[in-house]
């Protein structure tokens, strides 16, 4: 029993060090690609401005215009945040295949769970930093007034939603394993579809019934609804948004891991791990 306990502690220690290694590697890469990141940030800000300026064009009373601009901004920021998480998790395979390191990562004694969580944990941290910068830069540029905003509740909800996003990202990250040529692009398709049904720039109620039905199982629906309520109305963390996110997370994480491991097995069976394309 003692030996087993010591063995488990050693394994846990190794896994935690490995998780740190994934984060460490991504920090190195962000440092090395810093200017590229700055360029991407400028592009994201410009892109978000093109959306938020729509609020000015519809000629509403100032208070309504401010509310619409804030809602559009929240949608754009969550799109960007989700984009980062999907990019990092989905590109777990594609990126390493591009660099040629994938075989070394896959032959290391690191569990796939730790590997994917490490990638997801960094994505959430990095995505939150970028989303925060994006939000405040655009809000300042447009001149949005949000005196009642409850940022703490919005960030907490986003953090909870991130667990579900990671689970779905794990499912899509298997795509480059199965299809080296088209897999990464299919990940972006999944991200776009998830946001389209979740009311990214419009209420879910304006969509056809079948899309609304899909929206109920999308974590982005609850993240968008809750964050808008917190930023616009100053609402706290609402259980009506939290519990669906927790349920989706509880389902999405194990399913995501299982799907990835099955994909890994398929790739190893058919010799698709190494191929570049």
């Amino acid at each position: 029993m003692i030996a087993t306990g010591v063995g488990r502690r050693a394994t846990l220690r190794q896994e935690l060090i490995g998780l740190g290694g994934i984060v460490e590697r991504n920090v190195y890469l962000v440092k090395r690609y810093f200017l590229w990141d700055v360029a991407f940030m400028v592009w994201t800000i410009a892109n978000t401005l093109t959306i938020v300026f729509i609020a000015r064009a519809v000629h509403l009373p100032p208070a309504r215009e401010n509310e619409l601009a804030t809602k559009l901004l929240v949608g754009a920021v969550i799109w960007a945040f989700l984009g980062i998480i999907f990019e990092f998790v989905t590109e777990t395979v594609a990126w390493e295949r591009w660099e040629g390191t994938i075989e070394y990562t896959f032959m290391a004694p690191l569990s796939r769970t730790t590997h994917l969580f490490g990638q997801g944990a960094f994505a959430v941290l990095y995505g939150l930093i970028r989303a925060t910068i994006l939000f405040f830069v655009v809000a300042a540029f447009i001149g949005i007034h949000i005196p009642n905003a409850n940022f703490g509740a919005a960030i907490a909800l986003l953090a909870i939603a991130s667990i579900s996003f990671m689970g779905i990202g794990m499912m899509t990250s298997v795509l480059p394993l199965i299809s080296p040529e088209k897999g990464a692009q299919l990940g972006f398709v999944a991200q776009g579809m998830m946001l389209a049904v979740s009311g990214v720039y419009y209420p879910v109620s304006v969509m056809p019934d079948w899309m609304q039905a899909i929206a109920t199982i999308s974590p982005a629906t609850y993240a968008l609804r809750g964050c808008r309520a917190s930023i616009v109305d100053g609402a706290g963390l609402a259980w009506t948004n939290v519990w669906p996110l927790l349920v989706i997370a509880v389902v999405a994480i194990p399913v995501g891991l299982a799907v990835f491991m099955r994909g890994e097995r398929y790739a190893k069976k058919h010799g698709k791990l190494k191929r570049s394309g």
């Binding site: 050693a10 994934i22 460490e24 040629g100 075989e103 070394y104 290391a108 690191l110 069976k269």
Partner: protein
Amino acid sequence: MSTLATPRFLQPSVRRDVAAVQVHDLTKEFRRRDRKAGRFTGRRRMPALKQVTFTVARGECVAILGQNGSGKSTLVRLLSTLLINDGGEARIFGHDAFRETRQIRKLVNRVSVEASFFKKMSAAENLSYAARFYGMPPSQTRHMIPEILERVGFPSDRRREAMENLSRGMQQKVALARALLTSPVLLLLDEPTTGLDPRSKLEVQDFIRDVRETHDATILLCTHDMAEAEALSDRVGLLDRGELLFLEPTADVKKRYGVQTLEEAFFAATGRAFEEEHDEDDEYREVFG
């Protein structure tokens, strides 16, 4: 070498009563769309390894010779848990290579023909994160990485330089350092000197000899360089189109075929010259293996 050894709590248990590598009837095939048969036809089975059987003793250095597409890389990938077999079995220090992958991964490391690094990151950064995957904390690698880079002859002032600025020879030294950093008891070397200039090639070969002398490692060297195989290994095997034709000490191979060189032995065993052009099937095996 003792300063570079992994601490005991990270060391996997290695059975001393079994061979380092036991491969029995190992078979692997890939399926590939048949170009000649047209776009809408089925896939063709392409055997990469055909019932390969051999054993490597602990501490031994065995070289597997073969042309491009002979199945060498497929063999290395199977032993390093990167491919799943279609038949037969492989055991590393008694562990099933396809079922006990976590134990195997603690025991094995590999150097391949491509150096395979994040090219914008430096040598030190690449080694640092790779070591974490093996459970080595920063307190351990802080001293180990400079030591091991020095040991492979990597200039210390270039440690922080991006990999993309390093020569192929330098990158391969970092690849050797990465493999040795985790103190593997089985080192799989897949064409480690291919594409290197003569000086770098000699340096890498010297390093392999040094590892053998100072490190408790078993080495499986896959190469198409016959001189390298003869110089570094205890036994030489010949893998031809997925079949292992022999695995013996070089002197026994020459004696068996009544020849003076391994090139002549290859010709005697296969009826082809070693440098002869390989066919389309070999090309498929090379791409997938």
